[in-house]
Amino acid sequence: MKLFYLVKKELIEIVRQKELLVLMFIAPVIQIIILGYVISTDIRHVPVGIVNLAKGQAAGQIIQRVRQTQLFNVRVLSDRSEDYLYLLKKGEVKTVLIFRDALDRKRSVQKYPEVQILMDGMDSNTSMIAAGYFNGIIKNYILNDMEKLGQGLPLSGQAVFRFNPQLRSINYMGPGIVGFLLTIITMFLTSASMVREKEQQTLDTLLISPLSTLEIYIGKALPAALIGLADMVIGLVVVVLWFGIPFRGNLFYLFLASLVYLAAILSYALLISVLSATTQQAMFFAWFSLMIFLLMSGFFTPVDNIPPLLRVLADINPLRYLIKIIREIFLKGNSIAFFWKDLLVLSGIALTLMSISLLNFKRFISK
């Protein structure tokens, strides 16, 4: 019952701060929508320059195909030799396609032209993907020709994309954003909670009350957990309804994983709260941690790309496991049979963090 009054007090304090309410419930919606569009890794409308020095039909037909696709936006089309590097340097185009006639030993023009693809390697990811698309267009063109002659490639792999057939990057990023949202809200709400008590000089009366350390600890964590879960529901609704991301799994598993994750992240935030001397320190610490959590979570880039030395940080990062589980539940519709190992590791991290946090919390209270 005593805990009820503490939770109620915490919730009243949050509700009374109108700006905070906006930040907690309106900002996440805006954040998801903006993030959903901005952090897409899909390639579209890549600015392209085409220099066609070939006289054959094939070059023209391939150029026609390049122009028809939405992936590229042909900004420069020329039949004279250009300063290709200058075009890239100017930033007007990110790719230059150069078509030249291919000649045999007798200097006669071949059916297919020579194609050179010049890429702006500054944005390596886009360049690699765009180069792949170009090669795909050329390969398809040749295949069409071969089919007309009743021929085909002796060996060809047929890619079938399951779980995200349209290869929409938002389908991959959206569920991750939900996990990120859960982190950002709970981390900032909780990391300053004990420091605030100290700063507004209410800590002493709280500590001298019959509330036990555990009751204070839970009383501080529970309101943030409730708000975090409410935000998660908002996040789920936005990614499913606004972005049309399919939810194929079981909501129960999603909430189960989120609850375990909340135990971990709230313990960490409460640890920040007792280790910080001021709210400013707590906020800085929370922001720094959030960046590390995010970069080491596989949210933007695969965890496998992280160098082995830093991989340790990723391995103990609870957000990594939550994002993996959420993505599996969302897109693959996986049940616990598939992700129990991740859930187990996440539970281990949560238990460890909770122990460290509680220990420090007790030390803070008995100072």
Binding site: K2, Y5, K8, K9, I12, R16, Q201, D204, S209, S366
Partner: protein, 247 residues
């Protein structure tokens, strides 16, 4: 021959160090049940540190504190039930209304809901409900002080520790406040009140003057004035501090 009454508070050779700085230097005193003791001293004298050690909020470096005969390092949970504590700045939640503060503190003290409602109704009899419905940060300091004392008294503690409860309130509110403390004394409560307002010493059964972490005078105000040949507490205070400085 009857046994001497057990002191409400017994402080023996109490010290507190913050790193190399010694804030309280081996002080000893007792507070008898039903007594009002004034804990006087300038800012930084060690009043709050001592009170916080008595409540168990601060770890004791050396010495002992007994509350009703119980060592506060061994029996803190039992002692918490006996103690009422009102800290500096009233320690209320600024975003909660006066009534919500009362409900919160009563609730975490473990008061049953029915009893809590009775307390809240009692407060409504004393202060207009529109004021009680305002955020505590927006109500006058006198009301804040009243609410702070009210929440401190709700669990009906035997011993009440008040840390500078009259700072920042006007003289009339101070006078009314001390009247309330007198009422508590009549009900057998023990009070240790820290203050740097020297004129408040006249309300106390005994005063303890503390300076630089050491007790420089202790006794009944009238008796101390007579002993030192002073006409008022201010002179007595200055003299005690000066004497202490020379030593």
């Amino acid at each position: 021959m009857s046994a001497p009454a057990l002191a409400a508070i017994t402080v023996s050779d109490l010290s507190k160090n913050f790193g190399h700085f010694q804030a309280v230097k081996g002080i000893s005193f007792t507070v008898a049940p039903g007594e009002i003791v004034g804990f006087l001293g300038p800012n930084g004298a060690g009043k709050t540190t001592t009170i916080k050690m008595i409540t168990g909020l601060l770890k004791i470096t050396s010495g002992t504190v007994l509350i009703g005969g119980l060592d506060n390092r061994k029996h803190l949970a039992a002692i918490k039930k006996k103690l009422g504590y009102m800290s500096q700045k009233f320690s209320l939640y600024p975003l909660l209304t006066a009534m919500e503060n009362i409900e919160f503190f009563g609730g975490i003290s473990g008061l049953p809901p029915a009893e809590l409602r009775l307390h809240m109704a009692r407060m409504e009899e004393q202060v207009a409900s529109d004021i009680l419905g305002q955020k505590i940060q927006d109500v006058p300091p006198g009301i804040r002080q009243k609410v702070a004392l009210f929440v401190c008294l709700m669990p009906e503690p035997e011993i009440i520790l008040l840390d500078e409860p009259t700072s920042g309130v006007d003289p009339e509110a101070r006078r009314l406040f001390w009247n309330e403390l007198y009422g508590l004394k009549k009900h057998g409560k023990t009070l240790l009140v820290s203050t740097h307002n020297l004129d408040e010493a006249e309300y106390c059964d005994r005063i303890i003057i503390i300076h630089n972490g050491e007790i420089v005078a202790c006794g009944e105000p009238e008796e101390l004035l007579r002993q030192k040949g002073k006409v008022n507490i201010e002179e007595l205070f200055k003299d005690a501090i000066q004497e202490h400085g020379q030593n």
